[in-house]
Symmetry: C2
Subunit: 336 residues, 2 copies
DNA sequence: ACGCCGTTTGACAGCGCTGTCAAACGGCGT
DNA sequence: ACGCCGTTTGACAGCGCTGTCAAACGGCGT
């Protein structure tokens, strides 16, 4: 792209050495304010853009952050990814998505090869936060990492998380206040972070009125899980007046299954989801759900990665969840 | 990440000069087969990974390809992006998403700044393929680009596209064969690539039986557009027996709107979408739609970008579309 | 056996930055 | 006015590759 402006050009114009320009660009200390200003003027005048490759080579940082997940095509992951891209860009970094579909020796070896290739400066873990083998490997390779929503071993690394149980509590209270008493709860095997059932009990529901369906996402799509939930619901008597789906996609599949079987949402049945995924706003009715502040979480995660920990205990940043009340939840129908 | 293996280490082990190793790594000609093999053995033995930053700096290529679109959060765009990431990775490149929300002077200036910053080796355009101001700018900056699904000016650049009208024709024939005769068609202002109405007419439908609703996505979500379509449908008499939604999201919103107003899908109404987005498989019923081979399209686009054009006319690669028949389409109800 | 010319190889410099280290500066106390 | 020490600045080398160009090689015709 023709005439490239280099750091040297800026230095010449500002009347300082290249190294000083470098210091200003990188926001280092030990630059007199007047000098800093002169450099900035020159940078603006020439519209100077530092060469990423050269920076990376000289500083032996890759300016790359990796985001690790188990399913790249999960809605949840894509939302995180795009939030992360923004957070990284704001700090001059790039974000790379990396998939670890399962925890096996071969898939770990593949990950290791890929990490040695990409030389990421740091990693953000999602869905894998509780996988000790992965954490072990990262520590062996000495790659800094931040865990998102860790469920176990909270002191093992820096982490970004929510208040334990906040999301499910918001949903449970919402359902209780609407007047629901009988609830069907969907939960996912192997993901222990959210205990909806416990939250419902804590909000006043009786154990006898709660039915929990534990599903396993392996080999199944959210659509299938939602339909299974719908089948289950139709066989129950008395029928629950509300369903807590594990996420918005399952909730969406359940809702359309319910419509197809003559149930009107929310008049006959309240359905709530989790994640505030796009689908929760595309469906009719829009789904009541818990909003995860992905932008904020990823921004904090990148921050943790790029700010060395001065203390000697890992840091944890807590991001608040919010309840999005939409049209899929309403008071239960009057008892027959 | 500790002891890094450099090209020099490989050269020493293979008993050749660094430059020769470089030639092998880059697949250049003019290397004797025996030498090439020796180098490859050394590469494998040392598990050598070239340093991206150094390559990029020395060769003054960025190893970066940009993907330009108008709305990063569109399903369509994200699917393309993730397909593109894979296609790029296979060739040692990285893919960067860039948003151009509107065609104004300021947003073009922003794009220009960003391109000068990132120094992409090439660009892939989607949604912007027909925007002359963007093309003009890229030509001025001398950034190579490939257009996806260009609607106008086909000979202006390399392009990846479908057979003109193939997708809409597949849908039109499907509806005709099912026995539908009255159809509601949703189209989007400003996106001229797909003329569903023309395809329907070509398949035998009568103009008097077709109602076209032109919508403008600016300021509206697909959910809103789907609901509007639903409202319109309910006022019509006689009611169309099928709806062609502009894409799967709009189709999904329409379907749930229809359920909520007592229409059973597909018994009372057939709905078809476009794109084969994830949502078309989450909903009940799953949506009949046109599958765009994004993986293939992006792979071809990257190919065009990285293979210099030896001829003197722009190249066009055509990727076939396929119809995915699912449960949202069925014969029309018997006439009352 | 010699020269010719296309093929293969390597020496060297340099891409545009930053790390290291030493020199210059400048404010303070005496 | 001088020395001291923390602050600010710059000289220099080098990060790990590739481009350029020239040298070495090697097969062929005579």
């Amino acid at each position: 792209m023709k005439t490239t402006v280099t750091l040297e050009d800026v230095a010449r114009l500002a009347g300082v050495s290249p190294k000083t320009v470098s210091r200003v660009i990188n926001g280092e200390a030990h630059v007199r304010p007047a000098t800093r200003e002169a450099v900035n003027r020159a940078v603006n005048e020439l519209d100077y853009r530092p060469n990423l490759a050269a920076r990376s080579l000289a500083a032996s940082r890759s300016l790359l952050i990796g985001l690790l997940g188990m399913r790249l095509d999960a809605n949840f992951f894509r939302a995180m990814y795009f939030s992360g891209v923004r957070a990284c860009r704001a700090r001059g970094y790039h974000l790379m998505a990396e998939e670890v579909p399962e925890i096996t020796a071969s898939s770990l070896a593949e990950l290791e090869a890929s990490l040695r290739q990409a030389r990421c400066d740091g990693l953000i873990l999602t869905q894998l936060s509780d996988q000790a083998p992965v954490l072990d490997m990262l520590e062996r390779l000495q790659v800094p990492y931040v865990r998102l929503l860790p469920g176990t071993d909270p002191g093992r690394s820096d982490a970004v998380t929510n208040i334990q149980g906040e999301g499910v509590q918001l949903l449970a209270e919402h359902l209780w206040q609407l007047g629901h008493r009988r609830v069907l709860v969907s939960s996912l095997l192997g993901s222990g972070q959210r205990d909806m059932r416990a939250a419902l009990l804590a909000s006043g529901f009786r154990a006898a009125d709660l039915t929990e369906v534990k599903q396993d996402w392996r080999g199944q799509t959210p659509a299938e899980m939602g339909r299974q939930l719908g089948e289950q619901l139709l066989t129950m008597n008395p029928r629950p007046t509300a369903v807590c789906a594990y996420n918005d996609e399952i909730a969406a599949a359940l809702i359309s299954h319910a419509w197809a079987h003559g149930l009107s949402i929310p008049a006959d049945l309240t359905v709530v989801g989790y994640d505030d995924a796009e689908i929760s706003r595309v469906m009719w009715p829009p789904i009541t759900t818990v909003h995860q502040p992905f932008d904020q979480m990823m921004s904090e995660a990148v921050n943790l990665l790029l700010t060395p920990n001065s203390g000697d205990t890992p840091r944890t940043v807590i991001c608040p969840l919010t309840l999005k009340v939409r049209e899929s939840s309403a008071p239960p129908p009057a008892e027959a």
